[in-house]
């Protein structure tokens, strides 16, 4: 979707979107050289609105939170991939990994 539709769906001003993009909180996906937003960006926008309006978090706080949220998702996806990879192994290998985890925790 174009910028105008994105703003409409979130009921925000264009100037607000400009700030979000400057801060890097939302980044349009590149498609044929034109930036466009997806549903994921709308959901991200809703989170930013929840933070600023519902929870009263200021700009600095949102900056910190979005960076951490992105790290958590990076971490979760790696952990998921790792867990899936372990599940693909022989049962004995799985058991060894479990033992090793229990020893280190």
């Amino acid at each position: 979707m174009r910028h105008s539709e994105f703003c409409e769906r979130l009921s925000i001003e264009h100037s607000t979107l400009s700030i979000w993009m400057e801060q890097g909180w939302v980044v349009p996906a590149k498609n044929d050289g034109r930036g466009e937003f997806h549903d994921a960006d709308v959901a991200r926008g809703l989170l930013i609105l929840d933070l600023s309006e519902t929870m009263g978090v200021n700009h600095e706080g949102i900056d910190v939170i979005m960076a951490l949220v992105d790290q958590v998702h990076g971490l979760r996806s790696k952990l998921q991939a790792l867990t899936d990879a372990i599940r693909d192994q022989d049962e004995q290998v799985q058991r060894q990994i479990l033992q090793s985890l229990e020893r280190s925790s």
């Binding site: 980044v27 996906a29 997806h38 549903d39 994921a40 959901a43 991200r44 809703l46 989170l47 929840d50 519902t54 929870m55 009263g56 939170i65 960076a67 949220v69 992105d70 790290q71 958590v72 998702h73 990076g74 971490l75 979760r76 996806s77 790696k78 998921q80 991939a81 790792l82 280190s104």
Partner: protein, 303 residues
């Protein structure tokens, strides 16, 4: 939603609008699904709190609810897709995902480091090729960690940190020290395969160290204090009396430092060495030692 919205937000029936708002804010900060990805309980509670707030946060709706004109279910909200649902979809675009939090996982370079620190973004320029090298290090350098310098074929030198606990054959990765990438792409990595020279005393068994310790017949029979080499220097060990060859003692925490913290142990297997040359007094004693004749260490063989 069957629960009392006042109870859900944890406020009194006569709470002011401001109190209701701040109670909801507090809950939202703690329970927002995007701040608790994967926590189903937090999400359910957040939905309940949001529904309660949609009702009580609106003065008009709250008044009608208090009069019994509408019930709590009248305030159910439309379903919403949270950001986490997009972020967690396999194969979803990873514009936002950051794996910078793993950069320290890659320090102890192993086959997983590239998995953890790979960027989600598609790299626009091809990476340069990795360069492979091999080097030998001493057993103690590998076990305790060391700083080494290697000279590359083009005569440049590279400082190399051998992490404590490095295993024989383990590759160390020096990021960006390989060939430069074509067209301004990132440089490849230098991969250095470490070969650990064997040690005359120590052998490595995972995170544990094993040694065979020769002891005299007198020490074997009477026990006593012996000085034992470990990878971090000598320590004094008390040998119990009557220690046969093959008896194994453990020095806890004297093994190899584990990557996740802690250390393995050192195991000491004793080996009784008879005097050389033979002592005629000892032979005389053994001849006259009647209990010695009755001892049969091969009883288990049925002999």
């Amino acid at each position: 939603m069957a629960n009392d919205p006042y109870e859900t937000l944890g406020v009194a029936k006569n709470a002011t609008q401001k109190e209701i708002q701040s109670a909801y804010r507090k809950l939202a900060k703690k329970l927002h699904p995007d701040l608790n990805p994967g926590d189903k309980n937090a999400e359910d509670r957040f939905k309940e709190a949001s529904a309660a707030y949609a009702l009580l946060g609106d003065e008009e709706k709250r008044a009608r609810f208090d009069k019994g004109e509408i019930d709590a279910t009248g305030a159910e909200q439309a379903a919403r897709n949270y950001y986490k649902e997009y972020a967690a979809t396999p194969g979803a675009d990873t514009r936002y995902q950051s794996t910078s939090g793993f950069s320290d996982f890659g320090e102890a370079d192993d086959i997983f480091s590239s998995f953890f620190s790979r960027r989600g973004h598609g790299q626009t320029h091809a990476r340069g090729r990795d360069l492979h090298f091999a080097m030998e290090v001493d057993f103690l350098e590998a076990v305790n960690g060391a700083k080494k310098q290697i000279t590359l074929p083009d005569r440049t030198t590279l400082d190399l940190q051998i992490p404590p606990g490095t295993q024989d054959g383990q590759p160390l990765r020096l990021r960006g020290k390989g060939e430069p990438g074509p067209g301004g792409g990132p440089a490849g990595d230098a991969l250095i395969e470490v070969h650990v020279r064997p040690h005359p005393i120590f052998t490595r068994d995972g995170d544990d160290i094993r040694i065979e310790m020769p002891i005299s017949l007198r020490e074997a029979i009477l026990g006593g204090k012996v000085l034992v080499p470990t990878i971090s220097g000598n320590v004094t060990l008390t040998l119990p009396p009557n220690s046969s060859t093959g008896k194994t003692l453990r020095l806890k925490g004297k093994g190899v430092t584990k990557r996740g913290g802690g250390s393995g142990d050192q195991y000491i297997t004793v080996k009784v060495i008879l005097p050389d040359p033979a002592d005629p007094d000892l032979a005389a004693f053994a001849t006259s030692w009647s209990a010695g004749e009755a001892q049969n260490p091969r009883r288990a063989w049925g002999g």
